[in-house]
Symmetry: C4
Subunit: 227 residues, 4 copies
């Protein structure tokens, strides 16, 4: 198996994401596109102990190409959601985390998460330091596959986003390849955490004083808006 | 010694739990059932440096089957508590942590910890996203073995729980096998931490506005109850 | 060099303490007594990259027995403080950390840090769950060696303590051997962090409502005092 | 390649900084001076996976001496900023982090970050425990290279500083060699975090009651100013 085989990469990244607290309790997931195939993790396994022979390979329409020998394994519950980002946005990899920073962001913001004037915004493709980075927040559903429709709507309604937050659940993040998806996941997570800490300290998360900043005392927000 | 020998697994998991801050200061413990035997860690040793030859093996009634050569070692103080979960619930593994998230949860909630509408609730066997996850909180005692009676009462009174919190002390978590117990431990710990952060931000931890949410400002709780 | 050689242990522990955030920026220190000799780390080196050949050996009166070949190395600035715990308390190892939890504890408590009714108190030799654990806090000085007199006074005034906090600086912790000193260091650090989080949440850190709890709203403290 | 080759050191340090959360999302950077050459990381690569053959070598005037074979790599965007610290201060290494503690410090302080009476201040060359440690904060710009002029002004205006904070972005830290730069980076980061936690707890970060402490209740600040 080659050093950059998607199956090795997925297992390696999953271990790293576990250490970041993103995929504990068998939660979260990851897939990497390999030409016209998608390599995807199984559902409900310990992500930090995953092995290459436990992975599935799908076609872009979701049909099964190869499966692991272990008959108890099923493809990740995120499969239909991952395929949305791949087919609607040309994503080369999609990462799903249960990061508590993402969940807290969905609790502290209403329909949209937004920040501006933070350097890490530049880590998101197409965004500059002074841009208002917006991430749509969709409602959670009892079953993960039932999120697919709302995720598609959010992807279409927010053509510049590379992530969709799911309320009280986590976040889906993608990029043109696995490096871009991982970079995006790290930058978004940093920004979710920064926004939570800024709100706690009474600091506005955007400069424009938009609707998402309604709960921040006006004077304080102005006083700090100098970066 | 086989790769999946419970003695190796216990030492491996103990190291991982140390890194999570769950078993520092020689605290906490773990046991794994192996057929009609229970492999259990010794008391008061550094959990992250534990070796397979330091473990004990007990019968299901608690009688000693094998013991380490080192005469200074005693079985974990948690033994009688571990056996409650094994014999009353058919647990295949039990984990005891001193996680500060668990301790803070016992300080911020009264007789019961409860959350609803958080995705990680689905990581607990038998629970769905919208279910109200309840974990009983029992009072701590001066000696760990004196907790056994209250733990048994809580297990019988809460037939759906896979965990019991001990006030100002930590949590006991179990599952049908070691993978399930570890998954439960990670999900409960995430939920304890989430609830502590939600309370700090003035966000209700359940949607029903039950007695455990009395300290949360009503308007705020309603406004946020939308996930 | 044997597996349990104090020089190897010191380097191994220093790396672990670095990962805990206790000895960053070359701060902190550790010594282990080996019969009538004391093995001690050098001053101002990166603790996580320390090597056995960089260590010093002292007699119990502080006189130098062996020194590293590198002429630029000096014995730890903590030396006179370490020897106080060894000679006044029979300590077999002493650990000095700059843990931010310890520093915050010195800022939130006045002359004494105190907690009661937390399970981790039992990790300190001679203490029970319901005991009031008290750690004296001494004022910091411009030079570390100038702390020695105040440290000796605190050790004599608090015969049951295994630690002395230094205001805005950190903590000195000891035990009868290196395992006991490390266990104590982990338990104290956990308790410092717990107390800081409890104060933040408005929860009293002791049950007796002593002078150190004056800043906690009385009603809240009573309501929570049930563990 | 020798054990202390700057190219190996840069990759090793970058991995460690990633684990500290300082260079996630390909952010941040590091350079080490080697005689009259400067070894520098490439722009926009995953810092924790960087390899020695991906590094650039520059002359002190910024002209390119050697470059990696991979034609897609460009020198770090921090290059002109790194050279300011090298040429104006004789720095032997410069570290740039996006640490959230640094960013929060720029949001909670106005033009200058300042602390006094914290032991870790002694980790900064030339500073004592009771000194007022001041770090200038410059405004961020849309492009990193546009920071160079403001950085130079701050370096000249604050002759004692070994760091410059960039508002809503991060920090540049240097030292006479890589060990000193790393020690400084760890001490500054600790102090940024300490100051954020002290502000959150209503504790003044300096004893003098200067302009940067205007938002701290006076009585509380006095009561705590005893270290």
């Amino acid at each position: 198996m080659a050093h950059d085989d998607p199956r090795l990469l997925i297992c390696d990244l999953a271990r790293a994401f576990y250490d970041l607290g993103w995929v504990s309790g068998t939660g979260g997931g990851i897939c990497i596109r390999d030409g016209d195939r998608v390599v995807i993790a199984p559902s409900a396994v310990q992500k930090e102990r995953m092995r290459p022979e436990q992975l599935f390979t799908l076609a872009l329409d979701g049909s099964l190409l190869t499966r692991p020998d272990d008959p108890s394994l099923r493809p990740s519950e995120c499969t239909s959601l991952f395929l949305k980002a791949i087919n609607l946005r040309g994503a080369g990899a999609v990462i799903h985390t249960h990061s508590l920073h993402a969940v807290m962001a969905t609790l502290l913001f209403e329909a949209e998460f937004s920040v501006s004037h933070l350097e890490m915004i530049k880590g998101i493709e197409g965004m500059g330091y002074r841009d208002r980075l917006v991430v749509p927040i969709i409602d959670n559903t009892a079953r993960e596959c039932d999120l697919a429709e709302a995720l598609e709507e959010a992807i279409l309604a927010y053509p510049k986003t590379h992530a969709v937050l799911v309320s009280r659940h986590g976040v889906y993040v993608w990029g043109r390849d696995w490096v871009s998806a991982k970079t995006h996941a790290e930058c978004y997570d940093y920004l979710f955490r920064a926004a939570v800490e800024m709100r706690r300290a009474g600091i506005a998360t955007t400069m424009e004083g938009g609707v998402d900043d309604a709960s921040v005392p006006t004077g304080r927000a102005d006083a700090r808006g100098r970066g």
